[in-house]
Amino acid sequence: MANVEQHELKKRKVGSGTGEAVVTKLDAAPAMDHDEKKYAKVAMNAIAQESSLPDVYNPILPLLFTALALFTRLYRIGRSNIVTWDEAHFGKFGSHYLKREFYFDVHPPLGKMLVGLSGYLANYNGSFEFKSGEKYPEELDYVFMRVFNAMFGVLTVPLAYYTAAGLGFSPAAVWLVTLMVLCENSYATISRFILLDSMLLFFTFTTMFCLVQFHNQQPKPFGRKWWKWLILTGTSIGCVCSVKWVGLFATALVGIYTIDDLWQKFGDLKMPKVAYAKHWAARGAFLIVWPFLIYALNFYLHFTILENSGPGDAQMSSLFQANLKGTDLTSSPVEIMYGSRATIKNMGYGGGLLHSHVQTYPEGSQQQQITCYHHKDANNEWFFYPNRYEPEFSSEGELRNVRDGATIRLIHAQTGRNLHSHQVAAPVTKSAWEVSCYGNLTIGDDKDHWQVEIIDDLKHRDHSKLRTLTSAFRLRHPTLGCYLRAANVNLPQWGFKQVEVTCTKENDPKDVHTHWNVENHWNDKLPIGEAADYKSPFWRDFVHLNVAMMTSNNALVPDPDKQDDLASQAWQWPLAHVGLRMCSWDKNVVKYFLLGNPIVYWGSTASLGAFGLLVLWYLVRWQRSYQDLTRADFDHFHYAGFYPVLGWALHYIPFFIMGRVLYVHHYFPALWFAILTFGFVFDWLTRRLPGGAKVLVYGAAYVAVVGVFVYFSPVTFGMEGEAEKYKYLRWLRTWRIHGQE
């Protein structure tokens, strides 16, 4: 925020003294000229005013750049006919939309729904499995699907052009920025496949673009265009967050801009209070509520489209699953009896199924692990058995209901061990007791006992009997007085990152993480019950799915035992220190290497440092009372320089504290802001150069950017044959373009 504040100071100072002339000019501008484009130019383009270069708003150049983008993004797009890299994931997710089967993934649905749409348009029926490295079948028009994705990549180029123009860069700098996006190898590579990144980039670009357009409408608040760009900015935020959560960083950028803006308006003593309140209300409505609604709408569509039961069922609440078509949940007997086999679901947001497997705890009791698991398998099944003081269960005997208050045992169907707790600290949540699986039918003690406490029943007034799906119950450990609980805490690698199950000492009936319900229920002696006709409310499903996504995302941490050749570290990205092999490196495969244009990467990174030095230079000079900058200069520095740097920082620095596995493409949104910074710094440093020198400098820059792109184009357009052929591209030892290791 330092610069924002400084800007404030500067404005005051200038306003009271030497800056008078500039201010007058600014205020007078609307009166002189009502053409909005030209107005924006006067306000933002103070530097380029005397330039003899052609008008940036002439549509011919952007059209030309877009045409070139069609080339860099589409050329040879169908050459590799195998499932490349994460197409294996996102293609598959697209298929699920076509088959309308419920699946689960850590990313929000918009991007994947668009992939599904592309498949729909390509007449694809969703039957292909998208196994990594597998050849696409004849009937699947993968080229169309890729082209659909690549169009998002193409559109980033005109967006880059108009964003740079809107920021008031000189035409030469606008072209430079556009060229840098156009000839960015990594952008061109990533948008050629069926992935979410081209969409994420597209919406990141639109967010910055809309923000710039909105900013340029600031002199005419509440005008038609002002509203238009405000709403579009909000829409863009909603979309970018609906593709990947990384979009929250773009949202933060808009948020900081808005706070900065409102704080300035707060100091404007002439502004009527009602107008000020209106500013707040407009932003609250269209930058908070509206994007949130768009985000929620995406989930609404997601739930609506995926109406059939599928591989992701187990991530959701039992009630949600019961409403999916083709689920086996509704064909269960209703009342649970002793001897019934059942799966038990945690009712907290993001809760999973009570699970055990033969692996043991490496510490604590070293007994068999108990976890919460989000996939359906036989290890989730439990038998309800009477406690050890009661007569042993016999399948011949009379059927007895499991009732509220009953003390039971739960026996793991696959291993025959009892759900057990004892005074051993749980592996992660040390303040609670560990829950394990112990003994068998005969070996064991009263620590295998659990008391059923029925809290609620969705359908029946009578809470005395335990029923499938509708009963919510807690399991109390009578000896320790603790309650069975699972609260989305991931176990370490030895527990396969599944969710920890503990016995909590606190008795909080409102804690839904201690609430459980029976999901599947099997008992041959009982009739199949009616389907539950209780709908799970949308907002509940929405929250539930988001919590589940967050939990899974947290589990995506690097495994210290495994060395992931593809993963990289955040510090490597701005230096283009590593690339990424997107497919097998066999000589018969068309090989793609995800590597940025080194000039763009190194140039943009250097410009960030240069920007810091420029700021320091002007600050020190200012403190020594040199009058270097006019008001217009200052505004330009603030909006066209500082905000891109802030955008870069917001999109980059959080990765240092993220625990999850990181890949080079996580830097792509940040790179866009770094490129804008480069444009700003380059423009700033060259604006005083005489015409001839300028032509020379820009010419050299264009040639370098385009030249290096062409030089590295094999990594983007696909390398055929022996990788050794492309040895010459290995500028850095860490770029694994050829060789085994």
Partner: protein, 755 residues
């Protein structure tokens, strides 16, 4: 927030451009403007004396109880013992405070034989002069109280505010419990408070730069800072706090209206760089130098260091018993991380594993941590250039023969039992090995940081053993043992990730009389020396690495968000027989009030920022600046000692908040004075309406004001809670169930003996 004061300053500058430039008074916020001093110097003197006396009483009361090892005395007592015995140890904290304990122990004649192994070990029986060792932190803890008083006084707060802030530390149960034991925190908190004190004094000398007083306080600030971060790295937060203050100060000096030329400014800059960066860092290094000088003998910390480093320690096994290995020798090979020996026995791998994969059914090769005849391997050349009796050099190819079964070690393209991605290790009879499988049996010696041709020696020869044919390194781990068929021993397999640090092995010994013979003929080895800076750098990086690795859970660990409102304590010590316990818990009322004050400050600051932005002047210039620059500095200190913990992955405990609590006490004093004076002024305006308001104000100033009333009330509550929680702070007397439950104000306080 740091920027905001500049706002006001800008207003000054605007004036300056119109009228004649006038240097800004940097000390202004630190001076008082009230008509006459309400409290005499003597009153301050009496107050600080009483508080100090009370501090010593509260810290030394029954300091000999319990006569047992309590909580982390296990570590820090042990480290003192190591210093006294001069045996090398490794710890993640810098040496300063630990050296102090060692020094005190040495002074009072502690021999260091007792190693503080377990909580509850008896001091009296083991003849440990623990009371005198505890006296060091208790003294530092007691002296923290007058320092806090001093900070407030030097920052020109009234007597009530000074007493309030100092009492908040004086009567705090957590500060007391923590400083009565052999722990580092007393030293940390004392030096942290001292640094702030010295800095405030330094700021008071701003008007007279480069005088003796100015230099002295600058140097003392540097000294204080170096002591904080030579105690624990949390000290960097203090460094940051004062760093921000100094930068802010320099920024104003840079202002052209301040009248300094650039060379003059350069002088200011250089003085601070010397006093606050270079000198503290040199002192920091000095403590490491003392550390290395004292710890001259080999000890439990050897393993953390490189062989070159270990060679600088006397009696080190690496220097004492390392011999070269020759072809034909029978050796044992030990894994560096798990200490398991390479082992084989007649058992075979089962044909099918549980998951259905198939093995080679070859002879098992395992890792076994105990001495055993099956750990013996004869080493043969793997290439014709070497013959038996030659020295084994880095980069050599060799084969290993299992002596008991006469079989040759090999690895092949079969998945290992637990790791489908790693290669299985097994052995085959010599005949088979020489026939078709020669290539599978050849291993390459890749010594860690080895030079080509360097001879392989026992103990010191850390190396990776890489299968020539497949490029996999021999590896083992002890988290996932083999099933019953493998006798729960460790699995040995071939790891494709050769560079992993866990692939390191070394020859533990040469079996038979050869070792002793060779040792006898070895030239007598001197204890080597390594340049100090190199040693320091090695230790420094190892400390950072291990600090980051301290992520395991602890039953009493807590997260930073729970600290300000004290929702969890730490159980230090319990004694079942007498139902006594020490439970680290702050003074609950004290902590909650101090933390709430921060919210009050935020409210005041926000209101001030908003009104200022709207051009409304509520506070006088001086009051406004005090809010931003003095109280704001305390708030910054608090934030700097609290917020960074959120980003830390390591185990955190309540006592990490003690510096933060101290800062919040300073804020409390400042805010109470501010509120008191505001009420005062308001009252003067209302009541004095029609009368002479100014006269009224002066009268009020002489008598008992709002502030004194507030302070007295707060102190009453504070002392009562202190007294109420004293039994769990001092660990005596024991409490019955009712007594424990009566003190269990929050359900999350897991006090013992509640049942």
């Amino acid at each position: 927030m740091a920027e905001s004061p500049a706002l006001r300053q800008r207003a000054g500058k605007k004036k300056a451009t119109i009228t004649t430039p006038e240097p800004e008074d940097l000390t202004a916020p630190y001076t008082k403007v009230t008509s006459g001093p309400k409290y005499s110097k003597k009153a301050y003197g009496i107050a600080v004396t009483v508080l100090t006396a009370l501090a010593f009483i509260t810290r030394f009361y029954r300091i000999s109880h319990p006569a047992e090892v309590v909580f982390d005395e296990v570590h820090f007592g042990k480290f003192a013992a190591y210093y006294i015995q001069r045996t090398y140890f490794f710890d993640v904290h810098p040496p300063f405070a630990k050296l102090l304990f060692g020094f005190v122990g040495w002074l009072i004649g502690f021999d260091g034989e007792f190693k503080f192994e377990n909580i509850g070990d008896d001091y009296v029986k083991n003849n440990v002069p623990y009371v005198l060792m505890r006296a060091l932190p208790a003294t530092l803890g007691a002296l923290t109280v007058p320092i806090v008083f001093g900070i407030m006084q030097e920052a020109n707060y009234g007597l009530p505010a000074c007493v309030l802030a100092a009492s908040w530390v004086l009567f705090d149960n957590a500060h007391i419990a923590e400083t009565r034991l052999i722990l580092l925190d007393a030293c940390l908190v004392f030096s942290m408070a001292f640094s702030i004190y010295a800095y405030v004094c330094f700021m008071r000398h701003s008007k007279t730069p480069f005088t003796r007083g100015w230099w002295m306080w600058l140097m003392l600030t540097g000294l204080g800072l170096s002591s904080v971060f030579s105690t624990k790295y949390v000290g960097l937060f203090t460094y940051f706090t004062i760093g921000v203050g100094v930068l802010f100060d320099l920024w104003r000096l840079l202002d052209v209206n301040h009248g300094l030329t650039l060379p003059q400014f350069g002088k200011h800059f250089a003085a601070r760089a010397w006093g606050l960066i270079i000198m503290p860092f040199c002192i920091y290094l000095f403590w490491f130098w003392v550390h290395f000088t004292v710890l001259s003998k080999s000890g439990p910390g050897d393993d953390f260091m490189s062989p070159e480093f270990q060679a600088t320690l006397s009696d080190n096994p690496l220097t004492a018993s390392s011999v070269p290995v020759y072809y034909g020798d029978v050796i044992t090979l030990q894994h560096k991380d798990t200490k398991a020996f390479l082992h084989s026995h007649p058992g075979r791998y089962p044909l099918r594993y549980e998951d259905g994969r198939v093995s080679s059914q070859g002879q098992q090769v395992t890792g076994y941590p105990f001495d055993d005849i099956n750990n013996h391997w004869r080493i043969h050349p793997g290439s014709p250039v070497r013959v038996a009796g030659d020295a084994i050099l880095n980069g050599d190819l060799f084969k290993l023969e299992h002596v008991q079964t006469n079989t040759i070690l090999l690895t092949h393209d079969v998945a290992s039992p637990n790791y489908p991605t790693n290669q299985e290790f097994t052995t085959v009879p010599i005949v088979d090995a020489n026939a078709g499988r020669f290539n599978d049996t050849v291993f390459e010696l890749r010594m860690e940081k080895g030079k080509p041709g360097q001879p392989w020696r026992t103990k010191a020869g850390l190396a990776r053993i890489v299968a020539k044919q497949y490029g996999v390194a021999m590896w083992t781990q002890n988290t996932k043992p083999l099933p019953d068929w493998g006798f729960k021993q460790q699995e040995i397999n071939g790891n494709k990730a050769i560079t992993q640090p866990s692939n390191i092995w070394y020859p533990a010994s040469v079996v038979g009389p050869a070792e002793a013979e060779r040792l006898a003929t070895e030239p007598k080895k001197e204890v080597k020396t390594v340049p100090f800076l190199k040693k320091w750098w090695e230790l420094q990086t190892a400390m950072i690495r291990h600090n980051n690795a301290l992520t395991s859970e602890h039953p009493y660990a807590s997260w930073p968000g729970s600290w300000p409102f004290l929702s969890r304590g730490v159980s230090f010590w319990t004694k079942d027989a007498t139902r006594e316990q020490i439970y680290l818990l702050g003074n609950p009322v004290g902590w909650i009030i101090a933390s709430s004050t921060l919210a009050v400050y935020a409210g005041i600051a926000l209101a001030q920022a908003l009104t200022e932005r709207r051009g409304v002047k509520v506070l006088s210039e001086r009051d406004g600046r005090r809010i931003w620059e003095v109280t704001g500095f305390f708030v910054l200190a608090w934030a700097a000692h609290w917020i960074p913990f959120w980003g830390m992955g390591r185990q955190l405990f309540l006592h990490h908040y003690l510096p933060g609590h101290l800062c919040s006490s300073l804020v409390l004093g400042a805010v109470v004075e501010f509120i008191g004076s505001r009420i005062h002024e308001k009252a003067a305006r209302i009541i004095g309406n029609g009368h002479d308001a100014r006269k009224f104000k002066e009268e009020m100033a002489r008598g008992v004001g709002m502030e004194e009333v507030m302070v007295t009330g707060l102190l009453g509550v504070l002392v009562w809670t202190f007294w109420w929680f004293a039994p769990v702070t001092y660990g005596t007397p024991g409490l019955d169930v009712e007594g424990v439950l009566g003190r269990k104000w929050m359900s999350t306080w897991d006090l013992h003996f509640a049942k």
